[in-house]
Symmetry: C2
Subunit: 98 residues, 2 copies
Amino acid sequence: MSDFDYQQLDDIIHSRIRLAIMSVLVSVEEADFVFLREKVNATDGNLSTHIKKLESAGYVAVNKSFENRKPISRYILTQKGKKAFEIYIQKLESLLKK
Amino acid sequence: MSDFDYQQLDDIIHSRIRLAIMSVLVSVEEADFVFLREKVNATDGNLSTHIKKLESAGYVAVNKSFENRKPISRYILTQKGKKAFEIYIQKLESLLKK
């Protein structure tokens, strides 16, 4: 397979917004919705949609709890998500460097 | 602006196939259609569509000529394309490394 084969890049991760979400989550233990929204600079609807897609793929998990009686959702990368991100970066590097 | 702002990534370059095309072109002087198609692993139609999008953005230019009486199209990155690719890589790195 050619290093330039575009299909080697995980399509679930590659979308700009999902790549940004994954990049935030790989850099922190966990992130709540508002923090993610500000970092990624997305609208609520757009962020929700793409978090759901990452959850469906098993890359992101959510912990729901209450803080001062307010519901709060905290997002983390799963082991599967971390592995997929690692592979994505490797493939991206071999695409860009050769 | 947050380093994780997904909109900092040039959308014209970021699509997987266009990123692969740009990556091939940055690594060679010029590439003909068949060479690009094999490297990127795309269908004719898909490759044409995305090369046209890169041409419209002024990132890629085409030189058409004849070789042994057969028409041949050679693609190169323009100065604008090289600059845009450079900026894209910088933004991508700051997104991925922080």
